[in-house]
């Protein structure tokens, strides 16, 4: 029956229309498979060929088709407007494919439409969500305080190994990048201010400007932002992955508290590492500033170092250190908070990590402004 058509070398899918005694007859040829149909040119030619066949053509001949998969069958079925034409000529096997497509072709289920009530509901859900954040943060802070008391009462049972690991990862491995950034900021700041000061002949004030701005503000904030981006995201991702892989559940089942074992070591490590990194960044920035001051203004480092204690009061150092401890705790708590809220899927993990970094950097800057207002009379 089809021995001649089998030899047809042309595999491009197509349809041709022939007139017979009982009306038009559509003859389908070629390979109606995904491999053919997903080629752009082939697709265009198939679509235009199908359009030449008038709707309601009653006789279809599929016997010369070289291959028919579900995609091809779907096209034909859609062309038939999802009903069998009066006369379809098959080879065995094609019928099963088209029947399967016919059986399962349905209109897609309706998407849920948004209504005014739905929007009102969504607003409520957002408010509850925000309150959930506040509740969780409060609980996290409270739990941390309780855990710290617990640690103080039984210091030997503390997760010290964990903490030293975090200290190394958060603090020690951050030294190169904070040094580089601090040094460059110091150079840039000193260079720009030097140019201005030179015009007024107020060269020596470079020590005041650099000393105060770097020690009191830029050093701690710069270090905190770097650590928030570097370690805040790492903590969130780490805890989030533990949620995805059910490690958090495993810990809970063993009776190991997340707060004591996960949050507290990280919070303590950051509270300790943050002031140290902050001092390191400040020192590097001052070195950069000294270098630039010598190049532009010819101020010797000896002069710079001698003038520095007189220019900047010691209270500024304490303020900077205190600020850094708060920044460290803040970054750790925010990172742990978003990490623990991750849902067990990858999208939520990505969102949580982003939210963690953005929130902690914003909070660091807000906190810094708060400190500036509160301690405006101290050290200046």
């Amino acid at each position: 029956m089809s021995s001649t058509t089998t030899q047809s070398a042309d595999l491009t899918p197509g349809v041709s229309l022939t007139e017979t005694d009982n009306g038009p007859r559509a003859v389908v040829t070629g390979r109606w498979t995904a491999a053919q149909l997903t080629v752009r040119e082939v697709w265009a030619s198939v679509v235009s060929a199908l359009q030449t066949v008038p709707a309601g053509t009653r006789v279809w001949d599929l016997r010369s088709v070289q291959g028919l998969d579900h995609l091809g069958a779907q096209l034909l079925w859609n062309k038939w407007e999802r009903a069998w034409p009066a006369d379809v000529q098959f080879i065995p096997g094609q019928r099963a494919v088209i029947e399967r497509v016919a059986r399962y072709s349905t209109a897609p289920p309706a998407m849920i439409r948004t209504t005014w009530w739905g929007r009102f509901d969504a607003l409520g859900a957002r408010v509850l969500h925000a309150m959930g954040h506040a509740y969780d943060v409060t609980r996290l802070v409270g739990q941390l305080l309780i855990d710290l008391v617990k640690l103080a009462m039984r210091p030997r049972e503390g997760p010290w190994r964990d903490m030293s690991g975090h200290l190394y990862r958060i603090g020690a491995t951050a030294l190169p990048i904070t040094a580089l950034v601090g040094f460059l900021i110091g150079v840039v700041l000193a260079y720009l201010t030097s140019l201005q000061l030179k015009q007024f002949g107020a060269d020596a004030f470079i020590v005041h400007i650099l000393g105060l701005s770097l020690i009191r503000e830029l050093g701690p904030v710069l270090a905190a932002i770097l650590i928030a981006g570097r370690s805040g995201s790492a903590i969130t991702a780490q805890i989030g992955v533990m949620r995805v892989t059910e490690e958090l559940d495993a810990m809970r089942v063993m009776g190991i508290a997340h707060g004591y074992r996960l949050v507290m070591p990280r919070a303590l490590a950051l509270a300790i590492a943050m002031p140290l990194v902050s001092v390191w960044t400040t020192v590097m920035a001052l070195i950069g500033g000294m270098a630039a001051a010598q190049l532009v203004l010819g101020l010797s480092p000896e002069f710079f170092l001698n003038a520095l204690p007189r220019a900047v009061e010691a209270a500024n150092l304490n303020l900077a250190l205190g600020k850094s401890v708060v920044f460290g705790l803040l970054i750790a708590l925010i990172a742990c908070h978003f990490g623990l809220r991750v849902e067990p899927n990858t999208e939520s993990l990505g969102k949580g990590t982003t939210a963690s970094v953005v929130t902690s950097i914003t909070m660091v800057i807000i906190m810094d402004a708060l400190f500036a207002v509160l301690f405006k009379d101290i050290g200046v």
Binding site: A34, A35, T38, R40, Q94, A96, Y104, P109, T346
Partner: protein
């Protein structure tokens, strides 16, 4: 070439051809040879189960067939073309893979997951893609009401079914399954096996699977390939393989667990 209705002149052509394959892993104790000069040929229409003890490189072999890992030596050919070409555009037309955990894209809903390989080709209009995806969704036994659910909201069995629908969306002639019934309750597992069997029969698929589940193995395989001693020690119909004298074969098929499954042995009769 795809799992479409075709005239039966291509029967017996090798779909997967593995020649002289070596897999070597680095370990602290020096290089560790997993596969030594391994040969395996899988013909069209076969359902081949890879079995072997842990560490015999079943999943590694599956990943090498997919081109996800490169063997140290030897060649893997899929449908007459080197496996390295698999990563190219439209690979989903040639091979479908069902990963052990489903590997659904968690950012997409069920329908988008199934349609993804088709949509990425950027040739077909949206309504055709949606129709095809809806047909595949129902073909694996899920109702259209699940179309807009996110992967996180699905049960384990549903995840596997969606994964299967996605693997089949372009009707590839070769389907690879990694532990298709692992993690499913017995009832879902039976349902899944029946589904795979009917799909194999209807679509003339070639299937390669890794499984530890003897029920699945007996129900589906037309051939069992036993990996041990760094090569394929036995390959044949389940009944023939059971008779092969090797400690692993004895332990695996004729242990207590194996005896129980044997009682239910209904060898899959129709190699398409």
């Amino acid at each position: 070439m795809s799992a479409s209705v075709e005239r039966p002149d291509r029967r017996g052509q090798p779909v997967v051809e593995i020649r002289g394959l070596w897999t070597v892993f680095d370990s602290p104790a020096g290089p560790m040879v997993i596969h030594r000069n391994l040969d395996l040929t899988i013909h069209r229409g076969e359902v081949v189960s890879l079995v072997g003890g842990s560490g015999t490189g079943k999943t590694t072999l599956l990943r090498q067939i997919l081109g996800l890992e490169t063997p140290a030596k030897g060649t893997v050919t899929i449908l007459g073309r080197p496996v390295a070409e698999l990563g190219e555009r439209g690979a989903a037309m040639r091979v479908g893979m069902l990963f052990q955990q489903g590997a659904l894209f968690s950012a997409f809903n069920v329908l988008e997951n199934i349609a993804f390989p088709l949509r990425e080709l950027k040739t077909l209009p949206e309504d055709v893609i949606r129709d095809v995806a809806l047909v595949k969704l129902q073909m694996v036994g899920l109702g259209v009401e699940h179309a807009y659910k996110m992967p996180a909201d699905l049960s384990g069995g549903m995840v596997k079914r969606v994964g299967l629908a996605r693997a089949l969306v372009m009707d590839p002639p070769l389907l690879l399954l990694d532990e298709p019934t692992a993690g499913l309750d017995p009832e879902s597992a039976d349902g899944f096996v029946l589904l795979l069997r009917s799909l194999h029969h209807e679509l003339r698929l070639t299937v390669v699977m890794v499984t530890h589940d003897l029920d699945t193995l007996y129900e589906l395989s037309t051939r069992v390939a036993v990996l041990a001693d760094q090569r394929v020690i036995a390959s044949g119909r389940p009944k023939e393989v059971i008779a092969y004298p090797h400690p692993f074969v004895h332990e695996f098929f004729l242990g207590e667990r194996g005896q129980r499954a044997m009682e239910l042995l209904r060898e899959y009769p129709f190699a398409v």
